[in-house]
Symmetry: none
Subunit: 243 residues, 2 copies
Amino acid sequence: MSNPTAAMVVIGDEILSGRTRDANMHYLAGQLTEAGISLEEVRVVSDVHERIVAAVREMSDTYDHVFTSGGIGPTHDDITADAIGAAFGKNVDIRADARDLLSAHYARTGSELNEARLRMARIPDDAVLIDNPVSVAPGFRLNNVYVMAGVPSVFQAMVASVLPTLTGGAPLLSKTLRIDRGEGDIAGPLGLVAQEHPHLSIGSYPFQKDGRFGSNIVIRGTDAAELEAVGSDLVARLDAVTS
Amino acid sequence: MSNPTAAMVVIGDEILSGRTRDANMHYLAGQLTEAGISLEEVRVVSDVHERIVAAVREMSDTYDHVFTSGGIGPTHDDITADAIGAAFGKNVDIRADARDLLSAHYARTGSELNEARLRMARIPDDAVLIDNPVSVAPGFRLNNVYVMAGVPSVFQAMVASVLPTLTGGAPLLSKTLRIDRGEGDIAGPLGLVAQEHPHLSIGSYPFQKDGRFGSNIVIRGTDAAELEAVGSDLVARLDAVTS
């Protein structure tokens, strides 16, 4: 696949404890697929400096783009900015551009820009701010890493700020066939069709609905007409097996 | 932290494409937390052999327990068993114990144990099977890695089989009753039996076969004789309802 690649690092004790069900991964995955960028890996790591540093370094070396969510708020456990700085050997301190955004915002809303809130202006040297139209405190990009908030509404707004700046490949299209038979019944013909079209991604995702097993067959590629043709071919072969 | 540590590897093109929102991570996170096991990291990797091998090796070296979900079905894209074997240098082939489970199941249900379904008996040498009371095809444990299905109902049943072995309690046994009636028909007596035995876990997993609804009732506990007795009691009460 020649589309750009991406990975995500979720900084999330609250996901790992089961208290919160992740929403950002699912959102980003859909957005990237639409944009023709291939999300290849996601890591959910706990709020531990060394783990964030290690994951970000490895993902940054391996994939074209890396997106992080979480840990850029005002409390003591928001350690993402320092971890990103450490990952790339950059100094991290309160930066004038970020502080100006915050002070204007808090002056407007009548809140105090206290020490805690000022933590949200801690940005690594050479990083470029990411616009936050929801709650002002910015994200940032350093090298190929986009650092964004964990709150879903803010995360989504930041993704909207960032995505147009990325060059995607041809949008990856998908055709889904819902087959009311279990995978064991259809695996033979399905495997043959997959072999005959090695440049397409053909996945089988079993489901159980009302006690009945079925399979969603997802054919992915960039040519809509080809997806239709392969889908019809597969359905015909499965019908032949049935009758 | 002195609690045992755990990590999860989700084998999931369908998660990374945004087509499906992960449910297993959230489920496992909650279960492990309840059990006093600390989930420290989750990786979602694409269905690529080398990536699965690398993730499993690294997580197995780093954490006490590793759980995987996905990729153990009968289709061409189910490559997890081979990846786990490769991660630990173990041969992977159709194993007699797994094949016997499948052949008994398909004989019972009148389906053919074809070549595709036999793929689900491919188990690495030295692995220990994980009970699958929902759809029989087993998971397995190899070293500290627990390999489980991606379908949430099956994943959850396998977690229920595995978790008691981690907390050091008495092994949890299960008795499965295949009832040829839908859940709506049996819910009354089933609920009474569950109420009378609060220390047992009694689950109902509906299915539909040849246009008829049925239910697999799974009773879990530590006393084999008690499971037999409760199972017989339940069958008797259901017969009384029928007649």
